[in-house]
Symmetry: D5
Subunit: 129 residues, 10 copies
């Protein structure tokens, strides 16, 4: 472990929209890391109370991951588009479709699907008025 | 002082289902980290060619994040359920609903929504036969 | 340079009681780290939706921290004893009592207080039968 | 080990209340990490003098963890509320109660319990006058 | 893991040409790290769907690595020269040629070869007008 | 606190082809990291002798980066293909071509170009006989 | 990205004497790191209760540092000798004595001083019988 | 290894007394880490020349640790007091005395012992005039 | 791996002589780390082409280490003096000479030897005029 | 969050010659890192006693760096050759000689110079008999 930095949580200024989106991506990473940590601990013990608590907490971390993803979709419309195309592309990839078809297939699917985030909500439109 | 571990990529055995799901969560983290890295570089330069390349690459990282999320949904049905409930819960939370309503609201919404991952695909069912 | 360890979540064997207690302490650290991360992000933005989601998630991380602390109390009776003595010691310390009084005062308080974890529950007693 | 940063302990300004609470959470993390370190060393040796010293020190780290937790409860009333609800929620979770009951059960318990931190002491009220 | 730094993606100013080239080198490092991560995961599982997705993604990371390398060649003409000389030097080295021949051989080869990046495009010439 | 791992360079077994390719990618990362380090130092000093030495060394690190890239091309034919397609794709991207054209354009270009690494040299063919 | 190792506290075997001495040196480092962390937090706040708790805890960390140092002296007689010579050498160094005198002066002082750790207690003699 | 930070040794201003004491504690940590590193290397080889050089160097690192400790005693009188009380407390702890006796016993011992650092030398009194 | 810091190579100002010397020491550390990395990879493979390239590159890293050491000698005359005394001291140490003789022996040797760096070239004299 | 590995100094087996040379290179890095740490602290304070102690210690770290370098020269004859050629190459580089001359010039100089490490001492010859 390197030296413990005493002041890693100083807030110097408000974030820009781009920086806030990056912060939420980092938050999502933290939730994924926590899920990995708890799932490993559940697997490595037979203590029933510890397993129960870990599973309860882990389930809520999954909820948090889902909420942060939803927030990212609204702040980053390009991510929302890729999220909506992913199920179709996934099917093409695992069925062995050539690379070009995956690129096309995902796109047309996305065009046909009901736009899940509505009219491209940008971060700007979320700002307090 | 610089101390690079020469052998951080040794494969010692096949992963269990739990470990594979953890690996894919880590892969998703890596994509999010890359998006954050490239978005910061785009923001910090006026060089038009560098911006164009970074944006092209960053767009594909978003696609990768979406694909890894889709894979996680199929390996981890509990995550899939939370993902499908998240849009409704998100609305409740930002509209200031009390905590209890959020827990309930998300759940009933999830029950009503078309199940996006079908009949709970577990990792086991993805295995080669 | 970036050097991600691909296999940091391999489970090699079940944990001993001591190791499990250490794992839960690490889990509590992870929750505290997450609270610090989210509180910093709340503070650094005026985006009302992001603030609402972050606060909702952060509140549940506080619940998780409380649950992990409760689990630690049950696995580590010495910690439970210190937890029950802490309010009295805290008062003595902030009122400027000499060091010896703090050590004594906390102890007698603990003796008088209703034992919050009952008859020293050890990890052993939590084990599945 | 990366390069040793010579100046990781420079104090640039006083902390805000939010930043101070984050600092104390970090301090609690440091105590938990120390307990884990010493408990591992106790377990890994038969040297009786080393074991005796490590156990003495480790016991005081547990006291420190309890004191920092008490300080956090007073700086962060939301954490205090969750701490007081945790024993009841813990029981519900390990007894297999459904998720909704846990959320409700903890809350009603918290409402009935004697408020352990009194009239929501905020950090502001701790400030020197 | 050290504490999570909440604000690692703050953009304070535009990069100089030198700093931008360094940023793109870091981006290339990130792609190489991702390829290593995914190739390890492919190797460590028999799950056919996970393998298919990982290979699809990994192939695009290789494309990204190639694009960042191309961008570096254009920003750093000295790197472009070494890239064009490398195939010849590689042959000399593996065939056991003495060190001096490698230095000379690579150079003359580079002189004869069609200049792959044209008239030394410097970063300056890529700037928006 | 400083905690240097004394034995980070222990060789436990020979690498597989996949692991060796990952090792060389890591080596390429190390060269890129060194170039970034030295270029920063050149920029931050007016000491003429230090600048001259740093530039001499940095030029050879660029040569090393080129050699490791050449080695990777020979061990990883998929990377070689992407490298040969990159100049054409780069042009399409910076000229604003739509995403689909980039995917196609790069491919057809690659098909027409003289194959720079010959008949797909795999790692296997580099092995000693 | 965040990547917490879930199992950093696994005990695989008992430590040798050399390894135990190294462990206690690491424990002393941990105490020094904690003192630095708390002293920085004391300095950065005017909150009187937080300052009081931090100072109380910090004082006990100093006691721990002293105890670990005492344990090291008994496990490592060479360290004990240097500790007893240090005050004299310190005086010589700050008074500007030449390097040779410091080496000699410390030694003769150490010979004259009452041996503070008695007849070279080695770790062996501390072992349980 | 993360990226190498090119400028980790920039001096921005003179340290306060508190910060200087923290710096010397970090220096002591660095010496302890070096002793651990070299002792491990001595143990892991039979090369007689390497062992001789490592032991020579390691002995001087112990001297450095002793000198930094002496400097800390003079800058931090509270540490000096704990250092002088430690031998008595150590004896009480390893002989199984109850916790209260250790706290008292150490203190009375410290009162009787010849004050080893004289009239509480603070850092201030070491300052150049 | 922690989060990737996007801007670790920002140049804020020119280095002082002291800081430049520290930078070159860091550069030497980076070369030593690279040699360790490549030597481990050579040892862990039988691939003849990879071995040949790694050995070629590693040999030039040794040259770089030698050049950086030469630069340090010229910037840091105290280091140059120790370098010139080291061969004699080395002989004394490995032949078992007492510590005092090593200190003296190295010194007298240094006095008699032809001064290897000429008239103590300080960094100042290397500056551009 | 703080996560100290308790057992980073376990010795599992004796090192090979290659691994021992790598260990000593790491030790040299540790000395360079310490010099950088102490030189920064000297620069950042006016406390005369702290400066005197830091300078005394730092001078011995330079001696250690010289001794480890001497040990590396004897274990790694290729490094010894480059060290002896470095002064001549350094002169050629700073005088602006073309790259080819540097490669040649260093070599011929090395041939003419008195071989400083005698008849290529390999590690093998240092082994105990």
């Amino acid at each position: 472990m390197p030296q413990t930095a005493p002041f890693h949580v100083l807030v110097s200024r408000k974030l820009t929209d781009m920086e806030l989106a990056a912060a939420i991506r980092l938050d999502l990473e933290a939730e994924l890391d926590a899920i990995n940590l708890y799932t490993a601990h559940v697997e490595a013990t037979d203590n029933v109370e510890a397993k129960a608590i870990l599973r309860h907490v882990m389930d809520e971390e999954r909820e948090h991951a889902a909420l942060f993803r939803e927030l990212i979709r609204r702040m980053d419309p390009a991510q929302a588009r890729h999220d909506s195309e992913a199920p179709r592309k996934y099917q093409l990839i695992v069925s062995g479709a050539p690379h070009g078809d995956v690129e096309d297939g995902g796109g047309s699917s996305g065009a046909a699907a009901p736009a899940p985030v509505g009219a491209a909500l940008t971060v700007g439109s979320l700002r307090p008025r």
